[in-house]
Each structure stands twice: as C-alpha cells, then as structure tokens.
Assembly symmetry: D3
Homo-oligomer: 300 residues x 6
C-alpha cells in the first residue's frame, strides 16, 4: 500500500488549521491591490488568479484592483509620446489620459479578466465610470513630495476620489463574479481622471467594509532593524508603532506609501491590512488560510 501515514497526518494538520478560517471567511470581502512582480511573471499571474478563484469557490468575495504603469508607457512610446513623471506622479494631459484609459481598461483589465475565466472563475472588469463606481475630482497643482513648500505643479487629469458607489460590486460578488477594477474615475462632467491604484483599493476596502485589505508587493514584509543587529521580521505591527517607524526612518522609500495606505484603511474601521510578498506562489491563500499568515499585518 502506497499511502504514507506521516504525509496523511501532515495533510490533516493543514486542513484542521485551514477549515476554521474557511468558515470564518464565508461571505467576507477581500480587497486586493495587485501589482509588482506578481503582475509580470506568467507563473505568478496564474497563481494569483487561481487563488482568487479558490477564494470565490469557498464563498469568500475577492475584489482585485490593478495598476499597469509599464503597459501604459509601452503604448505611449509606440504612439511617439514620452511619459513624464513629477515626484513619481504621471503628468496626465488629455492625450495621455486617453491612452491611460485605453490601456488600463482595454488591455490590462482585459487580460486579467481573461485569465480569471481560464482558471474557472468569472471575472467582470469595471472602471470607476461603470455604475458610477468612483466619483472623483482633479487633484489640482501639487508641491514636490520632498519639498512641501516648493513650487506646485499641475499634473493635469490626475484625480482623487470624492465618493464611492459600491452597490454594483456587491451585486456582482453576490452573483458569483470576481470584480476587476481599473483605477480610472470620472468627475461630475464625465471627464476621465487617472487615480492611484493603492488609493482606489483602500477606498473600496472601506466602502465595502472588507474583512481584509491585502497589498501584493515585492517585499517579504516589514523588518525592524534596531542597533545594527540582525533585522527582526514583524508579522504584526500596531498603528502607533508603524507611525513611529516612519518617523524614525525605519520604514522608508517606496514602503512609506504602502504602509500609509494600510494605516488609512485601518483608521476607517477595517480591522486588518496586510503587506504580503507577491513573489511567493499562492501568497493570497497562505495569508488567508494559515494561522501565522505571511507578510506583515498592520492592526489598530
């Protein structure tokens, strides 16, 4: 006989560990910001979409918000138009906005929906215009990020969210669909606006009263480095500690906006925000269905 008892026991342990979470998360909403390496590697793309479909299988409701800056740059170049960034924000004139919308909605979003369908799920792509999902307004001129008193620059059609109408997402989720959101909004005149995908994900998590807000990143999570000792991995981080670490510079660079996005959703009543390593296959499942989770969880 070929079944090995230790393997069975090990399998049984994973199941005993996972099943209570499965029950706990039935009907719960998970808003996932999708980006980084997990959006580039074909293997990781498939692993993320498989995880979404499995989450849906067991009765949870995943919602995916995607970016797509690289794809936008690619099409802009083909059209002979050079991307311009100020302080990391894309300067978005009329023509650029048209390209951004075409690429995010008509290309990147399409590929994700198609892959979800291939994995046995039913994706439905939406942008902020559909069902008036995201109402927005122009951000207006902004000072340089590193010099708040510096000269302000008008980024054009870059928007910030003024209202969220999440009913359409709820209806789609309840009927078995996985919403895939492109971060484009519209102002009251119907004009398209380019919105930061982290912000969109955070606002949707709050509007949908999500169980969890999960950021798929290219780092393991957050480390504490005190006194030049061996850095210590933090599986959980309180709001106050996070603010402290930002102030002390222990959290820095590209990690700051990720952590701030987590802090924002927590302040609005979402109990858990996770920064996880999108480079690990099935990182979503591991985060959701194991006792330790992976990555760093920011909590109140």
């Amino acid at each position: 006989m070929t079944i090995k008892l230790p393997d069975l026991i090990s399998k049984a342990e994973v199941l005993v560990e996972a099943l209570p979470y499965i029950r706990a998360f039935a009907g719960k909403i998970f808003v996932i910001k999708y980006g980084g390496h997990a959006m580039v590697s074909d293997e990781l793309k498939e692993s993320v979409m498989t995880d979404l479909v499995l989450l849906k299988y067991i009765g949870a409701h995943p919602v995916l918000v995607h970016g797509g800056g690289k794809e936008v740059n690619g099409v802009m170049e083909k059209l002979g138009k050079e991307p311009v960034f100020i302080n990391g924000l894309r300067v978005t004139d009329e023509e650029t906005m048209e390209i951004v919308e075409m690429v995010l909605v008509g290309k990147v979003n399409r590929q994700i929906v198609s892959l979800i369908n291939q994995k046995g799920g039913q994706g439905v792509g939406l942008s902020g215009k559909d069902a008036n999902l995201l109402q927005a307004r122009r951000k207006g001129p902004q000072p340089p990020a590193d010099d708040p008193s510096g000269e302000k620059v008008d980024l054009g059609r870059v928007g910030e969210i003024t209202a969220v109408n999440p009913e359409s997402l709820q209806i789609l989720m309840e009927h078995g669909y996985i919403p895939v959101i492109a971060p484009i909004g519209a102002d009251t005149t119907g004009e398209s606006l380019n919105i930061n995908a982290d912000h969109v994900a955070g606002e949707l998590a709050v509007a949908l009263k999500a169980e969890k807000y999960i950021l798929l990143t290219d780092v393991e999570g957050i480390y504490r480095r005190e006194n030049s000792q061996e850095p210590v991995f933090l599986s959980s981080l309180r709001e106050s500690e996070a603010r402290d670490m930002i102030r002390k510079g222990e959290i820095n660079g590209g990690m700051i906006p990720k952590v701030e996005s987590c802090l924002q959703v927590i302040e609005h009543g979402i109990s858990k925000a996770h920064i996880i390593d999108g480079r690990i296959p099935h990182s979503l499942l591991l985060e959701v269905f194991t006792d330790r989770g992976i990555g760093t969880m920011v909590v109140r």
Copy 2:
C-alpha cells in the same frame, strides 16, 4: 389665463397613446444596435442616451451594443498601421486585435457609459469576456462576399459566436444598470476575437428573449419601388416578403445585412425587429411609445 386647451388636448392624446405601451413594456428587454450617424452627432448621442435612461425610468430594460470602426481606424493610423478590409471585413492580425480591443473597450465604450451617467442613468460597460458573456471561435478563411466560389481569405482574429451567457446582463438590468456591450469575444483559450456588432446584438436579443430588437441606422426604413412608381414606405414587412425583396434586388447593398440580422432574430423567436432612422432625435422613444412607430418593423 395662459393654458391653451388645444395644446392640452394634444398632450393628453400623446399620453393616452403612450401609457398602454409603458405598462406593456415594464420589465421587457430591448436590445439596441447603436451605430451610424447617431454615434457621430453630439446632439444625437445625447438624444439616444436620454432615451435609454427614460426607458430605464419606466421599468424597461435597454441593452446597447455598439460598434466603432472609425475610432479604431483613427488609432491605428496614429500607430502607423494601415487598416485592411477584405469584402468589408477587417483583416485582424494580433496587433490589430489588440488595438480594436483597446479602442472599443477602453475608449468608445467608456464614452457611452460616461454619457449615460451624465443623463442620470447608470451605465455598465462589458465586453464578451466579462462574465464569459460571449464565447466565440475564429471564423476561419472566408470566400469573397460577392463570389462564394472565389479564393478564401483568412481574416485572422475575426470570430463568430458559439455561446452566450446572458446571466450577468440580467442581474445588472434587474438592479437598475444599463449594460453597454463592446463586440469582443474570447475563444476557449482566452484569445480575443473581433465580432460583428450586428451579430452580437442579434445573439443577445435571442439569448435575453428580448421584446424588441432595434437597429439604429442611417435610413428611414424600407421602401418598395414597384413599376418605377412613387416608392412606398413599408412600416411593416413580413419575413417572406423580406426574403422575396432581397431575391428580387429590391433590398440591396448595405441594407441586406441589416435585414438579414432582423430575419435571424425573428427565426429564433423574437417577435419584432425594427430598422429605424437614428437620425431623428428620440427615435427610440418614438418607436417604442407610439402606435405607428417609426421605421420598418420586420415580423414573422
């Protein structure tokens, strides 16, 4: 006193005429193929979207299917790629397909949704990939339209519909949204396919058991020209007559595919198909809520 009795009586007559239709059409589905001049003139665009929103107001369920060939050509030209047509069908290589999808889904569809929202409705844009709405396969090489025995040409990623999953449309309609459909499908491997918008509209009308199938065109309707006499406008046309007129050449040119699309939905159980003049403001309302209707109705 300034109220004029004749005006009141005239208003009352329009209402007495319209109200029974309003009752009859509550909860009924209207699939509308949107194209031609009504998609170009800003005034007509607004008039069509107003009509859709009013139809929704009174409890009917409009579904819009749009084309967008001119917009595709425009972007292709900007990208330095020349549109190629054989027998009126766009030759669609991989790169063209990507552009078609970006433009129809990411631009044309976006503008329509945005305008519906501006008029007080709630549009939701979908392509055939969303919720697996349209499953399709490549059409394969086709002979020239005017020479069925001529050499066949492979049009590339041009598709024909193999299955329709209309549940997502029904859910969206029941919850108050107006679905706006871009005519893109996917095959079993998830590959995008370019599909004729008339076909998409016809197949959706059948799958949704639509009350009416309405083609917005640039003609008044169908005329009969017998013995070089004054042409007679036909407000209604039986299936057999239509086939007869095609055979005799009384219906010809660009009108043939329109009429054939009507004949196809009628054969599949839809009781009424209308070819109407999209150049008249509020042509949809006039078709639906008046005794005579406008344009030509094809019936069994």
Copy 3:
C-alpha cells in the same frame, strides 16, 4: 413617406416631459374626489375612468371618492320624499339615510365600477362599512354656517370621521384593483352615517399617505384679482396665501370648502393638493404627467 418630422418631434417632447413623472409616481397613491360636471357628462365620465385605468397601468394607485347628491334627490322624489337642506347640509332622518345608502352604494358606485371595468380596469366598490374602512359618529346639532351663534339644528344621521382603517384599500391597490369609495360610515353600533365626500377623500389621502390629493371641480382653478385689474391665474398657492385670500374674501362661496379641504390634508403631511378643472378631458393625466400641471396646486 407620410410621417412628418415636426409631429414626431412634438410627440417626443411630450414623452420626454412625461416619462420622469411616470417613474416618480410608480407605486404612489392618488386620492381623487370625483364630482361636478365630470360626473354628469358621458364623455367626461369616460375620460376620467380612462385616466384612472391608465394611471393604474403605469403602476400608480388611484383611489376614487364619489358623491352623488343629485341621484339621491332623484330617488327621494320617486319615493315621494322631499330633500331638506339646512345650510347646504342634507337633513338625514332614518328613512333618508336608507335611501342615501341605497343610492350611493347600490347605484352611483355601481355605475362607476362598471365603467372602470369597461375601460379595462378592475374597480372594487366599497363604503365606509366594508372592512371597517370609516368609523364615524353623529356630528350632533350644528349652528348655521353663516351665523356661528345662531340656533343649532340637528341634521340627524350626518357623521364625522373618527378613525380610518385603510389596510383593505392598500391590499386592493397592490393587487391591481381601483377602489371606488361611497361616503358612508358607521358608528360603533353599526348605524349608517352620511359623510361629506370631500372630508372622506381628505381623510383617506392622509391615512394612505397619498402622493397627491386631487379635487375634480367645475372651475379652472384659483385666480387673484387685485385692484380690479385683469385676474391672474395661480398655478400654485402657499398655505399662508390661501388663508390670507379666504380672509380677504378673494376666495369665497363654494370655493372655500374646496380650499379648506386642501389646507387640511396639507397640514397632515400630504405635500400637494390640487384643485383642477374636471371639465377638461383627461384633466387627471394632464395634471399628473406634465411639468406645468393644470389647475391650482396648494402647497405648504
């Protein structure tokens, strides 16, 4: 071709004007006091019943309250009994009450229900006894209307409403029926009482939380006549102005009780009360489905 574009545009305008009202009034209740010329002319009778049926068609809920004094007088005379009025109120002895009830419930109400059925609706006639709709008590001796300190007269079985049980009306309305109410109530011993039809309509409007209270009268509405100038028609009148005009005598005679009935329902939370000209065919439709309405609207 025989369709004239200006006619179409004019029709479209009426529809574009009416459709938002149709949506707004779905499921809303309209209590209509039916009387005057509209209850005498065969053409107007048919026009009123057609309007009720059309209102029902589009999902609104009309409720009709009728009078019938002339018919009562007719039967009384046949029975050799002379009608007696004091201050415009019918002196109602036992025998008169029996005749009033027979005529209003067994004749006038029957004719209205029958005509509604003929027009394609489903009328259900009720008096205040059915389902305990109207509980009432004797008004007791009343002073002359024009001399509050004059000698009081006992009018016999003339009642005033003490309680309304509108559940039966709601049930009938929800199931597609048009309730037609004869203004007869019963006291706690089951004794029949003759009640003023305007009061019945007003109390029902309040109990049903009606959207509109509409009085079909034999005048165009209310005019303001200042300084012997050309009288100005008032399409809308505020509560305070109305009271002012009554005090100043600008509203007088038979118009006073009509306006007071409007003021009463407005005080109890009904937002709009309308005095309209029942002599115009389809006056109900015109009031409900046009921007200007007809007649005079009394508002808070």
Copy 4:
C-alpha cells in the same frame, strides 16, 4: 369547590371531537348560501354572523352569498311598482333591475356587513361587478318550468353566469376579510343582470375549490319516506340516490332546486354539499365541527 367533573368531561369530549376538524379546516373555504328564516330572525342573524366570525378566527375562510327578494318587493311597493313573477322567476325590466341592485347591494348587503363588523369580524361587501367577479349574459326567453314545450317568456335582465374571477375573493380572504356577495352580475357591455343566489353560491364554490358548499334552509334536511312508513332522516345521500329520489318524486317542490344545486357543485369536483337547518342556532358551527354534522350531506 364548584367545578363539576361530569360537566368537565362532557366539555372535554366536545373539544376532543371538534379539534381535529379545526385543524383539518384551517385555510379551507366554505361557501354559504344565506337565506330563509335565518335571514329574518334577529337572533338567527346574529347567530349566523357569530359563526362566520368564529370560523374566520380559527383560520377557515367563509364566503357568504345572500338573496333578498322580500326586501326588493318592499322597496318596489314603496315606489308603486308591482313585482311580477313567472314560474317563480322575477320578471326584471330596466327599472326593476335598478331597484334590485340598489336594494341588494345598497341595503341587504350593507346590513350583513355591518352585523359581521359588530360581531368582531371584518366584512367586505361585493357584487358581481366588483373586480369583474361575475361575468354573465341574459338568460333569454324561458319556457314555463312545468311545461318545457310551453310558450317562452322573456324575463328581461335575468342573467346566467358565463365566467367567475375569484382572485379578489381569495385576496380578501387571505387578508382576514369575510366576503359578502350580492347576486348581481354584469354582461360584456357593463349592463347589470339579476342572478339566482343559489347559482352564484354554487359557481363560487366551484371556482374557489371550496371545501364545503352549505345551503342554509328552512328544513331539517332530507327524509326518505318508503311504503308509508315512518320517514327516515338521511344524514348523507349519494348523487345517484338523490337523482333517483327526484325522479320518484320523493324529493319535490322547493327542495328540488336546492338538491340540484348540490348535485351541480359535486359534479364539478366539490366533495361535500350540505343542506342544513338554518333555524337551529349556530347551525354552521355544528355542521362543521361535529362528527355527525347536522342536516343532509350530498356526496359523490
């Protein structure tokens, strides 16, 4: 202590006997033809209405159909019009019809509804016009009852039922009301017709799929008198026996139409028809809630 055990046991026995019927009849419909002495005696009137209200209390659905010939005659006489009968059927000219409708709907029906309300129930009076309950047509000229080949007489506005729309009764019953039906119908032009109350009750029993059809009469039930022996009371009678007894003349006179009405409902699928003695107080309760019942039951 004052409670006597034998009395308690006797009470308990009645309850043990009645309770299974109470369960069995929950939600069941009883159509009762009300007439004879029970409609004259004040004590019996109150007893019948109490029984209806108690039946409603325990979840059964009584429907009452009443006649009222004596009351009609009374009013006709006051109006100086002589009632004319041919073969026991009232000759009903236009004027008579108007009086019949006024009296049955506006007087008799009103008194019954009022008495039901007094007993704690909620009566709703209806005639065949309400909610199109009874569609009818003129019977046309009839031969004398005792001479089928004799000269036919036109009875005027005497009708026979062509269709029953019982939905309104079902809705009213389900919402706790007791329908009280006056036997007046309308033809397709809306003209009133005078219909035999037994026929109305029988047709309603069939249309409502009543559990029981009960005729309140002025006899104990049916007796068999064979060979001039002591007559034997029949508590139950098969369809074939009943026909036999009519043929042999053992059932005769005014009893024939009663029995024929029972036979008619039985042929249309109603399992039990009862001829009971309306002169016994609470005869309805005793029929429904005791093992033996009272009166004669006609069965298939």
Copy 5:
C-alpha cells in the same frame, strides 16, 4: 329524527366558548411540567398525550418537561444500588448520574415520545445536552431545607441552570414537532448534571416567552382556609397573595415549591402560571379552552 336540539345547543355553546381561545393561542407556546399521577395511570398518560397532539393540531406549540424519579429508583434497585435522598434531593454520585441519565433519556423520555407518536403527533425527545439546550453548573453543598444554618451536604452531580439555548426547540416546534425534555444538563466540561424538572420547565417557559406555564399536579389547585370555615377554592391568585399565604402557612408542604416555581416564571415576564389537577382526564384542554379554566392560576 334522532338529533336532539338541547344536545346540539349545548355542543354549540362549548364551541362558541372555545373558538376564540383557539384563535388566540395559534402560534403560542405552552410549557407543561408533566408528573404525578398523570404519569402513572395508563388512561391519564393517553389523555395527556392526546391533549398535546390536539394542541399541536390547532397551531399551538406545547413543550413537555418530564421527571421520572420512581423509574430511576427501580433501575437503581435492580443494579443493587440504594437511592439516597437528603432534604428531598437525590444524592447523585457518578454512578447514580449515569443511571439517572440512562433512565430518564433512554427509558422515560422514549415512552413519552412513543405514545405521542401513537396518538398521531410527532414527538422529539431531547435532554439539556442536545443543541446545548441547558447549560448548568453543580449546585455545590446545600444546607438542610428546614435548617438554613445547618451543616451543608454535597449532593454531587446535582445542577442548577446557568443558560438556556432555546433555538432548537423553536425550530422543532415550528416544523410541527412536540419537544419532550428530560431534565439533564451539562457543565462546561460536558459532565452530566441532574436538574430539578420544575426548574427546567420554569426556565424553558421564560426562555421561550411561553404564553402559559402549566404544572400538572395531584391536587385540584389552591384553597384558602380562613377561620376554620369551609375552605374556598381559588381559581386565581395574585403574586402578593401567594407570598402572603406561604408566609402564613396556608400554602405548605409539597405545594410550596410548585407555587414558588409559578412565582418565578411570573417574575420573569410570563403572564400566567397554572397549577392544575392532572387527575382529571383532558385537564390540559379544559384549562386552555374554557373560560373558567380549571385549577388555580397565579398572576402578577
């Protein structure tokens, strides 16, 4: 004819008396403590179970709580184990507890369920462990009942109720079942505890918001004996009077805990508690469906 009118009238009176109660008690819950002679006599057992089934027939929801001390003693004796009581409470060691549970759940409860089924009902037996119905804890050492300051005795596995989860009873009742409860609870470790059946019945009455709490006893009810006069039977007793009579010794012996159990449920919002004579056949029906009831009712 063999039907006697006086008998009919007498039957009718019982029905007229009972029917309003039948309506009033539809859907209401009756918690019945079953014990004494009614649990010994075969005839009374059948009468009680018949009453439960009839109550269920008419839409009421009876719940039975039983004891069974004699049966427990019988099995203990067979197992060579002597029952020990201190102050009337069974000393319950581990082994005794096992026997108590086996006998109450596996024997007494089974016989009741079986008899309910035989009478046409559907019994479902439960103990406090099923669906966590009764959570309990050990009572701990108790002083003698007649000497509160005497030496405390540990009664072992005798429990008192800490929480009631009545959902399972509600579900079973709503689906037509009659719950039959054995008075065994479990503590937080799952250990079985022996609980007084009167307490269980009282706690369930409170948790279920019962309409009535009925104690089947071996006495007629409560008498007042003042001044050595003829004792007066009390059909109703106020809370304050009851406490007074206990204080004065007018209520004494085995009657004290019965009355106290009634007082307890009344304090927790149950409006009526009844001590009735279980020796009268159909005592439950007579209590519930007659104006006077039987036995003594304790009220607020």
Copy 6:
C-alpha cells in the same frame, strides 16, 4: 526570518488540492457509520468529533449513526443478565430491549453529543422514534447465517426498517445541528426494536440522498490478492468487481456485510460509498478533502 518557503509551498499545495472539494461539498450530506476502534480510543473519538465539527463549519452536513454493543454488554452484566448471540445477532428479549435502548440512547448517544458540543459543534441525539424517524417491524425467525436451510431462530425484538422519515434530520442539519442517531426503531404499535447500525446508516444515506456514505472501520480498505502475489490495495472498486470478489472469497468474514452495505446504498442511487480506516486520525477529513482519498471507494 523564520518562515520556510518549502513549507509554505507544501501548505499551499494542500490548500489548492482541498479548496475545490470544499466548494463542491457545501450543502452536501455525509452519512457516517461510526464504530470500531474509533469509538474506543479517546484520541480517535476526539479526532472524529473534530472532523464532524469542521465539516459542519465549511457548510457540509454530517450525520452520525453509532452502534454500542460493548456498552450494552457491560450494563447487562451489571444487571446480571448474560448477552446471547445467535449467528452474530443479539437475541433481544423484552428486558434486553429495554437495556439496549437505555444504553444506546441514554448513555452512548449522550457521550457523543457531549463530545461534539465540547469540540464547538451542536449535536442533537435522536433515535428512530423521534419524529418517527425509523419505522420498523420484527425481522421474525431467521435461519443461521452460514446455513440458510437450517432451523430458524426467533431473535425477539430485532427489527428491520420499513420506512424512513428524514425531514427532522434535514431541518436540524439546515439549522446548524449535527444529528447523532441511535439505531433503535419502533413498530406501528410503538414497540421498540433493535436494528443493525450499518442498515440504519445505509437507509438514512439513501433517504437523505447523501453525497457520500462512509463506514469507519478497523481496516485500511480492500486488498486484491491474486495468485499469491503481493496484495494490491484497491482505492476504488466497481460494483461488479465487488460482487465478483465476494463470490470468489477474496472478500470474506466481517468485511462481507460492510461491502454489502456499500453495494446496497449504491444500488439506491448514492454515487459513492467509502470503507475507510477509522484508526487514522482525521480519517474523515482526509477522505473528503484530498484527491486520492483514503480507504476503498465502492462505485457503480
């Protein structure tokens, strides 16, 4: 950092394997025959009850049927009564039946329910009498199992199932409870009957249209031993093969009734019957949530 990637990948694989089953089994019923070593070892008892509770967590509906022969023998011996078996069947006289019922319902069933509650579930114990779950009749005299033509022996109160009323189980399952069934039935007179637990489980599986029928045994499953070679473990076995192996003696001894029980449920439309090794901890979970399952599956 302490998280090891290979462990994560291994965990992820178990989850990816299990999740589709979790979805597939939501709302599905599993009937489990509980017996053998898993009913003796404290560790295995806890593991089985944990598995039941986890199955319930994820939306499946487990139903447990238990035996308990050893416990019955234990109590019989204490009562000085010797168990008698003929052909492996317990001879069940009146007294033995009473003991069997007391022990299975009042002891074994109680312990299982209590342990389910301890593990976080909500057990509800039932025997065949509750809600008339199992109707049965005496089996009557049986020949020896190994000699069908031998002298028949009357086993007394040993029953076979004549009807199953599974509604109560469905109601309990739907409301979150885990039914635990003792294999006792009742005949039409209410007399208790001792029924084989495998038969009870099989009949319930069929009546409940269970997804799976699982026998917890003390063997790994079924082996094929051909030509004295190494025995081959069979993870799946077709009906025809199973019958073949029984005929050839490859399946023998105590395995025959287990396999026959599986064949019986398969014949009645249950698609899968499993003989699994109850000695492996969490054997239920491993059977249900892994691709290979454990033990031998008998299929059509």
